[in-house]
């Protein structure tokens, strides 16, 4: 599209994808900012968390999730480096590993929710529960789409080289996935540790 119509247009930067992804992620950040704002108001404006009679959040289990998603980000970073050094095998390995670790993160989250529900922390019962599930849920949705994206790319990447369009897809996907990881890191500190 943009490249059409003579050489002049080249004067503008051709690579939009990484920039656009970053812009898009700003919106994502604000979404969580809104939710975290609500969390703070509900927590410090009310009786305080955990609500009386409600279970405390499983710090350790969530810690495991955190480790998984962190490792996943690292794996993806190595994948991208592999791509840049034209090491197709390394790229595939990295992508697959990142996706699997991402899945592990989601499984951990599922186990955690399941445990909390059995301990009596329902979605509607207390705002403590509601806001917890909404925030972690919103994050999980982002994580799921990230994992799917990673898997798609990993499966598609069979050649020993990387087509330009996919190179951009991978770059964007990496940015997105690191964002999901970072957000989780912040949430872990805020929800579980503070």
């Amino acid at each position: 599209m943009t490249a059409a119509g003579g050489p002049k247009i080249e004067a503008t930067s051709p690579d939009n994808s990484r920039f656009a992804t970053l812009v898009f992620l700003m919106a994502g950040t604000m979404l969580f900012a809104g939710l975290v704002g609500a969390y703070l108001v509900l927590r410090f404006g009310g009786t305080g968390f955990p609500a009386p009679g409600m279970p405390a959040l499983p710090v350790a289990l969530a810690g495991v999730s955190t480790v998984f998603i962190a490792l996943s980000s690292l794996a993806l970073r190595r994948a991208v480096r592999a791509m840049r050094t034209l090491d197709a095998a390394g790229l595939r390995r990295g992508l697959a590993l990142a996706a699997v670790l991402g899945l592990a993160f989601l499984v951990c989250q599922a186990i955690q929710w399941n445990r909390l529900v059995h301990l009596g922390l329902s979605f509607t019962g207390t705002t403590y529960g509601s806001v917890f599930y909404v925030i972690t849920g919103a994050h999980a949705v982002h994580a799921i789409s990230g994992v799917v994206w990673l898997l798609v790319i990993a499966v598609r990447q069979r050649e020993h080289w990387v087509p330009e369009t996919r190179r951009r897809a991978i770059e964007s996907c990496a940015l997105y996935w690191h964002f999901v990881g970072l957000i989780w890191g912040a949430l872990y500190v805020l929800l579980y540790l503070v």
Binding site: T2, G6, K8, S130, A138
Partner: protein, 580 residues
């Protein structure tokens, strides 16, 4: 550009061409403007003649309009939908959707948006949101009836209003519309940053582009916060959570904070693009460079930045800590300064110009005149003690129409009449346009200025029958006066509709640059083909070189090679070396 002719569907319905998408947004919004306007007419009938049956009222279902008399619950629904439609489906989509799409690539010299597919998606998601809002007008128990601000608990618990599905659809619809604006914003920002034609430095961009750029940033940062709030409200309504319900440990004011954190920036989303258009139009029709270009750019940024820290001025009487109130008063006073700068720069642009009074210019002048009034009334409310009295009175209603109708909508009229030739390749009828502009300005003021007086009298907003209160009875004649002028104002819009439709079909053909303006969209044919430009122009200067001394023409397009003409003030800009 590939030469094969795309099918009708691909060309006009599921088009990825930013111009077609922009025009789609325009038509959709104008359609909703008629609905929103007719709803306003109903509001005015009820307030002017509370005890008389509304003409055609009997056409409505009995439960809404017993014998044509508006039911109080229905009145709430009517003004709620009036406002929701006007804000979410008229002003925001026209300013950012229609003109953002149409103008940005043309004005920065690009062939299209960075992401045409995303752009198309943005329109269709927005259209879906609009359809949901429209559908909610017809569901059982009526549409949303909690004001466009949808304060819980009223909006969170169906029992409190009797409205069931309608309110839920309202929430869903706004979520759709919000997502559409976010997609649009991502596209606009990327396009403006990465797709500018060679030589189009940031500080050579027309103010319209600057305004749309900053507005996109506002939308990007503010809308997701509203989305989070809407999500929680939806859960409260449908799943039984208690985010905003004190009984379950929720916080009532939480909604107001989140809502206004979006909706105050949103009001600037609704004015900044209009300010940009008006700046360009005033410069063009004064045949004079815009006064204080950089000051204009920086005040747009200032308004946008400060816009994020003033939301509490909607909550002075909400029970929020009075100390916080003071802080928000301070920030609100400060935000008036950049607006002042813009106002005076517009005056400076007129100063010693050679002004042509074509339709767009008349609307632009009406914009400035009304925005001054609307802005100044804002100062009263910004003062916390005064706001104690005028909060939730017609003083606020007057303010918001002076900025939204007198500001945003006059900006929209100016933009439509100015860029119509470029959009459709035909001129609008200028004489009819001027009549519409003048009449609209007159009836607009006769309609909304008296609302200040109602407000001073303590007349509450959102009440369906002022004559219920003894202290409001003396003010009723003013309500009647307002209503009559409102009908005339509405009827005047038929002139616009007529002119618009007629010119589409039979307006006289427009050449490339009918207004002798400088910015790049006028370099392209009218209407521009797919891909916009025969060859991407190179930019040598800003868009405001009017009446340059020593030139035959009184305008100097951005893309005309500059080295041939002497330039007293800023020679460096004109050497191609610096240009590309």
């Amino acid at each position: 550009m590939s030469e094969h002719k795309p099918s009708f569907i691909r060309k006009y319905i599921f088009s990825q061409d930013h111009k077609v998408i922009g025009i789609q947004f325009l038509f959709l919004s104008l359609f909703f403007m008629i609905i929103g306007g007719l709803l306003a007419m109903m509001v005015r009938w009820q307030l002017g003649f509370p005890d008389q049956a509304m003409p055609l009222g009997t056409l409505f279902p009995e439960n809404l309009m017993p014998e044509g008399h508006m039911d109080p619950a229905f009145y709430n629904a009517v003004f709620t939908m009036h406002a929701s439609i006007m804000i979410f489906l008229v002003i925001i989509p026209i300013l950012t959707g229609a003109f953002g799409n149409f103008l940005i690539p043309l004005m920065i010299g690009a062939r299209d948006m960075a992401y045409p597919k995303l752009n198309m998606l943005s329109f269709w998601v927005g259209a879906a949101g609009g359809s949901i809002m429209a559908a909610s007008l017809f569901v059982a128990n009526g549409p949303a009836a909690t004001g466009w601000t949808a304060y819980p608990p009223l909006s969170a618990v169906p029992e409190y209003t009797g409205v069931t599905l309608g309110q839920t659809l309202w929430i869903v619809s706004v979520i759709f519309i919000g997502s559409a604006s976010i997609m649009g914003a991502v596209n606009y920002i990327t396009t403006i940053v990465n797709q500018r034609a060679p030589g189009m430095k940031f500080f050579r961009m027309p103010l319209s582009v600057w305004a749309l750029f900053i507005t996109a940033v506002l939308q990007l940062m503010a809308t997701p916060v509203l989305a989070s709030a809407l999500g929680m409200l939806l859960f409260d309504r449908t799943l039984g959570t208690h985010f905003f319900a004190p009984a379950g440990g929720g916080q009532v004011l939480l909604w107001q904070h989140l809502f206004w954190f979006y909706s105050h920036p949103a009001v600037y989303i609704m004015i900044l693009p209009a300010m940009g258009f008006v700046s360009d139009i005033m410069s063009t029709f004064s045949r004079k460079p815009i006064f204080g270009y950089k000051a204009m750019v920086f005040s747009i940024m200032g308004i946008a930045g400060l816009g994020f820290i003033v939301w509490g001025h909607h909550m002075f009487q909400s029970g929020m800590n009075p100390a916080l109130g003071s802080a928000f008063m301070a920030s609100t006073m400060v935000i008036a300064v950049p607006s002042a700068i813009k106002t005076f720069n517009w005056l400076g642009t007129l100063w010693r110009g050679s002004i042509r009074f074509n339709t767009p210019m008349l609307h632009a002048l009406a914009f400035v005149s009304s925005f001054i009034i609307g802005g100044l009334s804002g100062i009263f409310m910004a003062s916390t003690p005064v706001d104690i009295f005028i909060h939730d009175t017609y003083f606020i209603v007057a303010h918001l129409h002076y900025v939204l109708f007198g500001g945003s909508l006059f900006g929209v009229f100016a933009a439509i009449t100015y860029w119509f030739p470029k959009m459709f390749g035909r001129m609008m009828n200028d004489s009819l346009g001027r009549v519409h502009a003048v009449l609209t300005f007159i009836f607009f003021n006769l309609t909304f200025f008296p609302m200040h007086i109602l407000g001073m009298g303590g007349h509450m907003r959102r009440i369906y029958d002022p004559t219920q209160y003894d202290f409001l009875k003396p003010l009723q004649p003013i309500n009647v006066f307002i209503s009559i002028n409102a009908f005339l104002l509405g009827a005047t819009q038929l002139l616009f509709i007529a002119n618009f439709v007629w010119s589409l079909a039979a307006g006289k053909r427009a050449e490339r640059n009918p207004w002798h303006a400088n910015s790049l969209e006028w370099v392209a044919p009218s209407p521009p083909p797919h891909g916009n430009f025969e060859t991407i122009p190179t930019v040598y200067r800003g868009a405001y070189e009017f009446s340059v001394p020593g030139l035959a023409d009184d305008f100097l397009p951005q893309d005309r090679p500059g080295d041939e003409i002497p330039h007293p003030t800023r020679p460096s800009v004109l050497t191609p070396a610096r240009a590309s």
